[in-house]
């Protein structure tokens, strides 16, 4: 039932880093009571893999991403990027959040330039900002302010703001969750082609089983809170994938079963 896939190294250009999550547990303190959110999660992600995390709402997927990003420290266990222990945020692991969270007081160009500015390398690397804007097709909007953009455009700017740093691991926290379904389909295809071109490691949290199967070559199913790894499923299909692929439909049925939703299928 549970397909324990041995992850193959998918290194295309070896631009991505490996991510080693070892026996990580985490808990929140809420009014003095300890609420466990992650329980002994172990996961080895090879350079260049696209891994999707699926799980019931509120199970701790996003917390795991915050730990990988270094925004929080785990209560126990270790996380490693290549061979370096993750102790804090670093531009080699950037996050694209569900909300674009663009800075409203900065123009599109200045928003994309944020990472380079924070690392004090903007002056010599301005062309990287232009290149990142080109990559997401928004060069014409360089001087616009965030309130002038549509939801899809804003999320593309957020993606450009992440990619301009040449991350080794791209962390995607339901980045398409709030977009309309048409924009979503377009951007799923864009994400795949970006990931293939850059060869980076991608870690995606999503609620959408179909999205996970369309994008990822490995799907991790997490249990209800506190989250544990329930299944590790290899999606052995070439890109670009087709939404009607019977193998993907089979996997979808299997995953929905793991999530306890097979009755609705």
């Amino acid at each position: 039932m549970v397909a324990q896939a041995v992850a193959e190294p998918v290194a295309r250009h070896a631009a991505g880093a490996s991510l080693d999550i070892e026996h990580v547990s985490h808990a929140f303190d809420i009014d003095g009571a300890e609420l466990p959110v992650l329980e002994d999660v172990s996961l080895l992600i090879q350079p260049g893999e696209f891994v999707a995390l699926l799980g019931p709402s509120g199970c701790g997927k996003s917390t795991l991403l915050r730990l990988v990003a270094g925004l929080e420290k785990p209560k126990s266990g270790t996380l490693r990027e290549d061979d370096n222990r993750i102790r804090g945020p670093h531009p080699s692991r950037v996050v694209v959040f569900q909300d674009p969270t663009l800075f409203p007081w900065r123009s599109v160009w200045d928003n994309v330039a944020l990472g380079l500015e924070a690392q004090s390398i903007l002056k010599s690397q301005r062309q990287r900002v232009d290149a990142a804007l080109d990559l997401v097709g928004l060069s014409a909007f360089r001087n616009a302010y965030p309130h002038q953009l549509s939801g899809g455009m804003a999320q593309r700017v957020a993606l450009a703001r992440a990619l301009v740093n040449d991350p080794k691991i791209l962390i995607l926290d339901e980045p398409l969750g709030k977009l309309d379904s048409l924009t979503r389909i377009t951007m799923q295809a864009e994400l795949v082609s970006l990931w293939q071109r850059k060869g980076l490691t991608a870690l995606l949290v999503t609620h959408d089983v179909e999205e996970a199967l369309f994008l990822a070559n490995r799907v991790i199913v997490l249990s209800d809170r506190p989250a544990r790894v329930k299944a590790d499923i290899l999606v052995d299909r070439t890109y670009p994938r087709h939404r009607g692929d019977p193998h993907l439909a089979e996997l979808r049925k299997q995953i929905l079963g793991l999530l306890g939703l097979d009755a609705t299928w």
């Binding site: 925004l71 531009p91 996050v95 959040f97 409203p104 990472g115 309130h147 002038q148 703001r161 740093n165």
Partner: protein
């Protein structure tokens, strides 16, 4: 058949053309009608100045009357010929209703004071007496304006700068907040004017004492609003900046402060208002210069026209300062347009 319909069309178009010409003339009359009314109101002011003799001894009655006729002529020809005046024409037409109101108000004021003394005389001087102050007492008035502006600018700049820095530090650092917050709560709500007696004998000069008071009045609202602005910045902004490699100094200067700026401007606006009050009181009581002092001095001499003249200047200066602040804000917060309506 076809000729019939053709002639029919022509006659219809002809009447339409004459219609639209009549409409154009009607529009023209309607849009300059208010201008004509304004001219009449100002002619009334001129006549009221020149027709009856003054009850008192004022030297600018004749000049005021002539000036009223000039304004009337400008209003009349300006609004009638608005189409040939470029941008100034429509601007004048927009303001014409106010010209009517102003002309009527001045006429009534003129009649009620200089001509028939419906209002008791020394306390309600006529318009020509106020004009007389501007022409004959100009050097002293300008000196006072200069002194007030200097004092206000110095105190406000110091108060705003200290308030801003304090607000950012409290909002950012827990330990600064621990020490400064209670002091702020204890001292802040005290009206700055309550410090006046102490300030005037502890400070070496009345100028430094007034600067301190103005800075205090400005600093409190600026501090509180800057602080609340910094404290209300969404954590998501910090998360984004941190994952992109931002150091703490970047988080303060490039995230917290720009995000808090709309709040800071509310504080600057409130501080400006309360500092005006302190400025006038300080000048009336301690400083021997400035518009507040001029008011006090005029009262001592029962020179009521001078007081009105000074009040008018003062209100122009205060509203000018606020306009300037708002312009600065609109320029700095141009990104807010569409997010927040002012």
């Amino acid at each position: 058949m076809s000729t019939y319909s053709l002639s029919d069309t022509i006659s219809v178009e002809g009447s339409r053309a004459s219609n639209s010409r009549a409409e154009a003339i009607g529009d023209w009359l309607r849009s300059s009608g208010v201008g004509v009314a304004a001219a009449i109101a100002w002619i009334a002011l001129g006549l009221s100045c020149l027709w009856w003799p003054d009850l008192g001894d004022w030297s600018r009655t004749y000049a005021l009357g002539i000036a009223a006729f000039v304004v009337a002529a400008l209003a009349l020809f300006g609004t009638l010929g608005a189409d040939f005046l470029g941008a100034a024409g429509p601007a004048l037409r927009r303001r014409a209703p106010w010209l009517v109101a102003l002309g009527l108000f001045l006429t009534v004021w003129e009649l009620a004071t200089a001509k028939f003394a419906w209002l008791p005389l020394p306390f309600f001087p006529p318009p020509q007496a106020v004009v007389e102050v501007y022409t004959d007492d100009l050097p002293k008035l300008l000196d006072s304006v200069f002194a007030s502006v200097k004092l206000q600018l110095g105190g406000y700049a110091i108060g705003a700068a200290i308030g801003f820095l304090t607000g950012v530090s409290i909002g950012w650092s827990r330990s600064v907040g621990y020490w400064v917050h209670p002091i702020l709560r204890f001292i802040g709500p005290l009206p700055a004017t309550a410090w006046l007696p102490i300030a005037f004998f502890t400070f070496p000069s009345s100028w430094s004492a007034s600067t301190f008071l103005i800075a205090l009045a400005t600093g409190f609202p600026v501090t509180v609003l800057t602080w609340s602005g910094v404290a209300s910045v969404s954590n998501a902004y910090y998360d984004v900046a941190r994952t992109l490699g931002a150091k703490p100094s970047f988080l303060v200067l490039k995230v917290a402060i720009p995000a808090a700026l709309p709040h800071v401007f509310v504080g600057l606006f409130m501080g400006l208002g309360s500092s005006f009050a302190v400025l006038v009181v300080a000048e009336m009581i301690g400083v021997k210069a400035g518009l507040g002092w001029y008011l006090q001095w005029a009262q001592g001499w029962a020179a009521y026209a001078n007081m009105y003249a000074a009040l008018i200047v003062m209100s122009l200066l205060c509203s000018g300062a606020i306009t300037l602040l708002f312009r600065t804000r609109d320029r700095l917060l141009v990104w807010q347009k569409g997010v927040v309506k002012w």
